[in-house]
């Protein structure tokens, strides 16, 4: 009985070792390609939000981690800094709207140092297809309505959907989603405006794997 059990255990272990060996080597083989793909998709998003940024790879390296869940939705968000001729032109912030209709909405927002929103994109979301997903730029151009809008603490009232007396359209049948996105973008812009020290914070993001 014991012999049978140990024989079976050994057979299982052997199969596990073979499987792990195959997967380990394949992982090694595909690792560089996967890292490259991830980098490319990050670069593509950065470039969409801030088309002027020619040296996107440099931009990706000049990045600092911030832990302000109240303003940016969750801890450990990345802030990229875009400099031209040693002058800081814009920040690119990862931010999260925690109050979407179904779960978090991850956004990337470009803000100039004085707090003007330059552009924004939805990176990932689980909103209702056909209603809430109009925040995606391939479904509608609603997300462009933030471009060039200044954000100051004084005009909090204007940073809301029309239904709440603000400047931004809601969608028919979906108010919660745009409301969440508007608030998240506003909070990100305000955060940049109120924290000029971001420009000199050390670049401490791990270079993406």
């Amino acid at each position: 009985m014991i012999r049978l059990i140990s024989k079976n255990a050994l057979a299982l272990a052997l199969v596990a070792i073979v499987c792990v060996a195959i997967l380990g080597s394949l992982n090694q083989l595909t690792q560089p390609k996967i890292a490259e793909q991830r980098l490319l998709s990050q670069l593509a998003i950065l470039q969409e939000v801030l088309p002027d940024a020619s040296n996107a790879r440099e931009l990706l390296a000049d990045c600092t981690l911030v832990n302000v869940p109240e303003q940016l939705g969750k801890a450990g968000q990345k802030v990229y800094r875009w400099r031209q001729d040693h002058e800081l032109k814009a920040y690119l912030l990862e931010t999260t709207a925690p109050d979407g209709y179904s779960g978090n909405i991850d956004l990337l927002v470009a803000v100039s140092p004085d707090g003007t929103v330059l552009g924004s994109r939805v990176v990932s979301h689980q909103e209702t297809p056909g209603l809430g997903d109009k925040i995606e730029q391939r479904r509608s151009n609603w997300i462009y309505s933030f471009s060039g809008k200044p954000a100051t603490a004084a005009d909090a009232r204007r940073w809301a959907v029309t239904k709440d007396g603000g400047d931004f359209d809601q969608f028919t049948g979906a108010t919660i989603t745009p409301r969440a996105v508007v608030n998240a973008v506003y909070r990100a812009a305000l955060y940049v405006q109120q924290h000029p020290e971001l420009a000199t914070a050390p670049a401490n993001c791990e270079i993406s794997p």
């Binding site: 199969v15 195959i22 394949l26």
Partner: protein, 231 residues
């Protein structure tokens, strides 16, 4: 040759994993909101099924009966991880849009079902054919349901095909009709259930018609005439 024919018929129609065995419903209903997603997951499942059936068949003589299930699961999980790594490396966009359903192929009962029911009892070649045909059957159901839901839901076909096939595939996108408001029911999970039900009903009605025709051909229908005369 007749073996090949029989296995093909079983996989594609008589014992179709999607329509008859009703296995793997979770990915079937989850990712069929567009044709591209359905095709991507269908191909991934097909590859896993083919690979796992072949390996299970090769090692079937050496696997002790008591621990065959954990070993099969390990083989299948390895294949899924292989596919997942490859898709992550070469079709990144699709990898992201399939999301959790890719690792969930491991739990697709159709795969362990074929390993246990067929590949563990048959030599390499029939097992490979069985895996291929069962995978193809599953793929076809996914594609049919995906196309149905995409047309009804957003009026297009092959939306986002470039995620799967590269940039040239953008020309594949067909706009059947234009609508600003999507037909939500078709795109959400309830639409998948309804569509699936309709597909199964269609298959059953075709089968029944076939059976009736055969009955007529054999002449067994004469019994009906007897009851008719009694009235």
């Amino acid at each position: 040759m007749s073996l090949m024919k029989e296995l093909t018929l079983q996989g594609l129609w008589k014992n179709n994993p999607g329509l008859v065995q009703l296995l793997g419903l979770c990915p079937l209903l989850g990712v069929t909101n567009t044709l591209t997603n359905a095709l991507g997951l269908g191909v991934a499942t097909l590859l896993v099924l083919l690979g796992s059936n072949m390996v299970v068949s090769l090692v079937r003589a050496h696997v002790p009966n008591e621990i065959r299930i954990p070993i099969f699961v390990m083989i299948i999980a390895s294949f899924v991880t292989v596919i997942q790594l490859l898709m992550n490396a070469y079709t990144f966009g699709l990898y992201q849009s399939l999301g959790i359903f890719l690792p969930l192929i491991v739990t697709n009962c159709a795969i362990i079902g074929r390993a246990e029911a067929f590949a563990s009892k048959n030599p390499l070649l029939p097992s490979a054919i069985d895996g291929l045909m069962m995978g193809l059957g599953f793929l076809l159901v996914l594609v049919a349901l995906g196309a149905m839901r995409e047309i009804l839901g957003q009026g297009t076909l092959f939306d986002g095909a470039e995620l799967l096939l590269g940039d040239w595939a953008k020309i594949l996108r067909i706009e059947v009709f234009h609508s600003d408001n999507h037909f939500l029911l078709a795109m959400l999970p309830p639409g998948a259930f309804i569509g699936m039900g309709l597909l199964i009903a269609l298959k059953n009605s075709i089968d029944q018609r076939q059976a009736r025709k055969q009955a007529v051909a054999k002449g067994s229908i004469t019994r009906a005439r007897v009851t008719g005369a009694a009235q």
